[in-house]
Symmetry: C2
Subunit: 648 residues, 2 copies
């Protein structure tokens, strides 16, 4: 039987949380204005974006040539989408006025048939849809659809949705297997999940069908990318490593996928869309595909930070258990994509394994992409950094030891902005109008209706610093429903009380959630205690990079050593797994964070100029190791960083 699963949308959830307020303010007050200036080429030190200018030129509002990547438009859309999310909970007339300007610019850039893409409109008007594999037209369309849905939902202004639907209607005509239609699909997935958002807003099933069409066509023979390449007369002197189309997840039909291959962000966007289609069309085969790929990622190809994509080359998944720490790619956008995929999986199955990974990717692999002041970013998120190697070794060239203001290919900064701005929409899910799931412990208030009755929940949360959570229900009259509370996988000894009375966690435990079914009254109080112990994590014996090493976690956070606290040559530090760990709050260091100190030893660098010695043990001295949360590294001076620490 198909369950009706409805995430409580961010319009109904207001975050008020000691940890996240800081970021949400940063997004509103720093990131979005900063990105606006970046999109308008107003930041002196940063690479020029040209993104707004391109759309203005395409709309006849300015003269000039197209500049930037073929997907440059998408930066504008991601910004607009983030603005939509931000306005949904924090009205800001100034920001809204800017966004309205952008909508006007997009409206003018739209061609009479509905098509929008500044690159093709300006530079290659005759070549529309001739290279779906590389040219990102559908990718940009997707980001616009997401933006349109978000901005419409936030403001109720119809114009942006009209523009989007006109574009989508045009796509419905262009793509398909009927004569004259294009039987292709995008090289960079995104439009699949975006069409579903448009469907959610409009209820127009044609958008759902088009999304499913793109998914079903992918990887079929004759291979569309080969056919279109031949039509273009393409000659490739050197076949790229993805000549089997796995780079684009098109190496075989999606229903036959069993592992995550190719470009990690593309893969995540694809499977997020696939999961959506599986949900809306009750397609068990696609659900099975999603589960297989999910397992492959989380059991064999994911860093402990929720980072994915262990190969810089092609920004891609490599193979099972290949997780080098210092050469990881781990694009910020890939962790964000994993978060999106996880959230869609939660609609298919209310299993905490999905929410656990959402939490993991959020607090670690994604959040590490933005500095504490919201002004600088990481595109790549390795688990070990040796600055000299980043500078001097070609195989570390992709790793930056310092955060950068903006990027030539600026996908990550706006992506993290839209994720954080929409965070409120990922906390709760209502199932079959009778169960309310809490996936993330983030303080704030949610308002919803359940069984026709208004219900409000106020959450207070100490996450990620401590595991004390309080939920207070506000309801006009008593209401019988099930409250399902995620027990984080990292928590060994949770306890829950309702109005002070302990709950038997085991009895109501199902797929990682404690289900409390009862008649709830106004002001009922649920108190959760998830003790956050320092945990020493070991990696699967097949993971070569982490032999003899452990990583420290506490609650949802992965920790790391940074040179600023521990000196250089972090590889010479050895943790004592049986030693004492102290958890301390530290205010003056960056923002308030929890640090962990541990007992250990340092192998002394007292050899002098000798490279090898026989039958000797390195001298050591006792030392206190200081760990900081992984996401907070690289906010002080440039230096080494290390997640996996030697234990002997």
């Amino acid at each position: 039987m198909h369950r009706q699963v409805e995430p409580i949308p961010l319009q109904q959830v207001k975050i008020s949380d000691p940890f996240w307020n800081h970021y949400l303010e940063l997004i509103r007050k720093e990131v979005l204005p900063y990105q606006w200036r970046a999109l308008n080429d107003l930041i002196p030190d940063a690479a020029k974006s040209h993104a707004i200018a391109n759309l203005q030129i395409a709309g006849g509002q300015a003269e000039g040539e197209f500049h930037g990547f073929v997907f440059q438009d998408s930066d504008v859309y991601k910004w607009l989408e983030a603005v939509g999310y931000s306005l949904a909970t924090h009205p800001d007339p100034g920001l809204e006025a800017l966004a309205d300007q952008v909508v006007e610019i997009i409206a003018k850039a739209q061609q009479p048939d509905g098509y929008i893409n500044s690159y093709f409109t300006i530079a290659k008007p005759q070549e529309r849809w001739t290279n779906l594999r590389d040219c990102h037209e559908l990718y940009c369309a997707g980001h616009f659809f997401e933006a349109a849905a978000a901005y419409y939902q936030a403001t109720g202004k119809a114009k942006v949705l009209e523009i989007a639907c006109k574009f989508a209607d045009y796509l419905v005509e262009v793509f398909g297997t009927n004569p004259g239609q294009i039987p292709g699909y995008p090289g960079h997935e995104e439009v699949e999940l975006a069409l579903i958002k448009l469907y959610q807003v409009t209820n127009d099933e044609r958008y759902l069908k088009l999304s499913k069409f793109f998914i079903d066509q992918r990887g079929q023979e004759p291979h569309y990318f080969a056919v279109e390449a031949e039509k273009r007369g393409e000659i490739r002197r050197h076949a790229p490593p993805w000549s089997d189309h796995s780079y684009h997840q098109a190496h075989k039909p999606v229903r036959e996928h069993t592992s995550a291959e190719g470009h990690a962000v593309r893969a995540m966007y694809l499977y997020a869309g696939v999961a959506d289609i599986a949900y809306y069309t009750q397609d068990r085969e696609l659900l099975e595909t999603c589960l297989k790929v999910w397992d492959n990622i989380t059991r064999r190809r994911m860093y402990i930070t929720g980072g994915i994509g262990s190969s810089a080359h092609a920004e891609a998944f490599s193979f099972d258990y290949d997780l080098p720490n210092e050469r990881a790619y781990n694009e910020t956008c890939a962790s964000i994509g994993l978060f999106f995929f996880a959230h869609r999986m939660l609609k298919l199955a209310q299993d905490s394994k999905f929410a656990d990974v959402m939490e993991l990717a959020l607090y670690n692999g994604a959040l590490s992409g933005i500095s504490l002041d919201g002004k600088r970013f990481f595109y790549v998120n390795p688990l070990e950094v040796w600055p000299e190697a980043c500078e001097k070794r070609n195989d570390h060239r992709h790793v930056k030891p310092t955060r950068q203001p903006w990027f030539g290919c600026a996908c990550c900064p706006p992506n993290i902005a839209r994720l954080l701005a929409s965070l409120a929409g990922y906390i709760y899910t209502k199932v079959d109008d009778s169960e309310l799931f809490t996936h993330l412990y983030i303080g704030g208030t949610a308002e919803l209706t359940l069984k026709g009755q208004r219900l409000a929940i106020t959450q207070e949360s100490g996450f990620p610093w401590d595991g004390t959570v309080k939920l207070i229900l506000n309801t006009a009259s008593d209401l019988d429903f099930t409250l399902a509370l995620r027990i984080p996988a990292w928590c060994q000894n949770p306890s829950i009380t309702v109005n002070g009375e302990p709950i038997d966690i085991k009895s109501g435990f199902e797929h990682g959630y404690v289900k409390i079914q009862r008649t709830w009254s106004n002001n009922d109080r649920v108190e959760l205690e998830f003790p956050m112990q320092v945990a020493l994590i070991t990696a699967n014996p097949k993971v070569r990079a982490n032999r003899g090493k452990v990583a420290l976690t506490r609650g949802p956070l992965v920790y790391c050593l940074e040179e600023a606290d521990n000196g250089d040559n972090l590889h010479n530090l050895i943790i004592n797994p049986d030693g004492r760990f102290e958890v301390k709050y530290k205010q003056p260091l960056m923002n308030k964070i929890t640090i962990i100190t541990a007992e250990g030893r340092r192998e002394l660098d007292n050899w002098g100029d000798v490279l090898y010695k026989a039958n000797t043990e390195p001298d050591t001295e006792p030392v206190t190791l200081t760990f900081i949360p992984y996401y907070s590294w690289a906010n002080r001076e440039t230096g080494e960083m290390l997640v996996w620490v030697r234990k002997q």
Copy 2:
């Protein structure tokens, strides 16, 4: 005071040694004939060489176009050089007839002015000497000079030397700082050391001076490579990483060099030439340069195998202590070059640190380049191999887990052939006609004159399997001289007897050699015992790749684990440093080799499909580790290999 240092040349030394006989026979019976067929494009599975054909076309003996690299000629010269060495000790009329054919081909390819280079003669006759940086004309010239010297010394046939001198005389005219001369130097060093070989054969000081000229010009301002590039109108869209000329060791004048930079083979060939010039011209400044660079390499940039060049990109040195095991480049030719450099340093200073590295590079980093049957080769010699990563990771693309029959750029196979064929020339050195140094313990007979008197030494050696060495002197009448015997750095407790009487090693110990000065009589017998203990080697604490790991050596050999003996997942094997080691001879496995077994544990791969676990210790089982000599790996089925083993 300048000491007269004369290596006993290979014409006077006949190797007869249980270990090396096998290789010398392989070179004669397999490698040289195989390479001859390869040079003539007669090997079906291998990439075509075109090398002989190119020279025939250049000489008007055939029609066609040039094929291959600009340095393709050098493969022919390296073959001819090896043939010369082989004929010096093992006459072979068939081989000599082939070599004479080659000399004729070269003679015809020589232009009227003396110039020889098939690429420029065939394809770019107008562009001679317009791109010294990239086009390898002087590199090829150098290899021809080395070949000519070797073949002339072996056969006494003057023709090849006449061709070489005509070419060298032409170079003497072309290069210099006088008007109309070219003030440049080669991008790939080689001609420097080769001109010295020509000088050694001819006593023509102009060749010595030209060599010194090339060295002194290198890296001076205005920078010759920049000047010639501008003259060519060169436009480079992407500046290569060596735009500071360090790739070519031309980032500053040679006398200012303090570290090994850039392409490792080029660097070694350069410094071998620099050391020669320092010796012949008594140039203390160049000697200091060599010592600084030597120390930088051997104390900070050399793998335990004598491999050098830790970066695949540019086949280059990277930076101090950056020695990744699985991504090492360690070109076979670079270890051979290090051997050459070390041998030249021994002329400047009779210090065993140079001979120790000669021995190390010979038995490990160089010998690993050739299979036990002499038919397949490694270009790249990493210290850790994970075949799946070699196949699937772009940053391992240079690492081949299986030996290859020949290479498109076939520098390594002929290089190892010429090294092994000339090995007899590296064993002994006579100093000031009063001291005879033994650098390498290789069985055979040397005949020389000392103080005008004929002396023969017969050496029997158990190297590299055991450290028992016997020297028997043969002299017509008593002779007063010093016998200097290297005490290998790896040997902790050597003992020496003369005619059964123990020698006090400490009293005669100087710079790593025991000097026995006495009046030697016919049939005097020196017996040396260098006990070969299994040693556990630790790397300097600054070497990140080797933390918590040890490598096993025994005598001159570095050992490794191979999957064929130990199963896969070698990273899960842990050696017990305090356990018992057993040394065994093993005949049926490949050739007769010494293997080492050690006590250890295996971390069990019993996790199932879980990637991370909290607060757990991996299960282990006791296991016997089997180590084989590093050079002998990859002679069975394809699999993993590991030098640095976890000790905990």
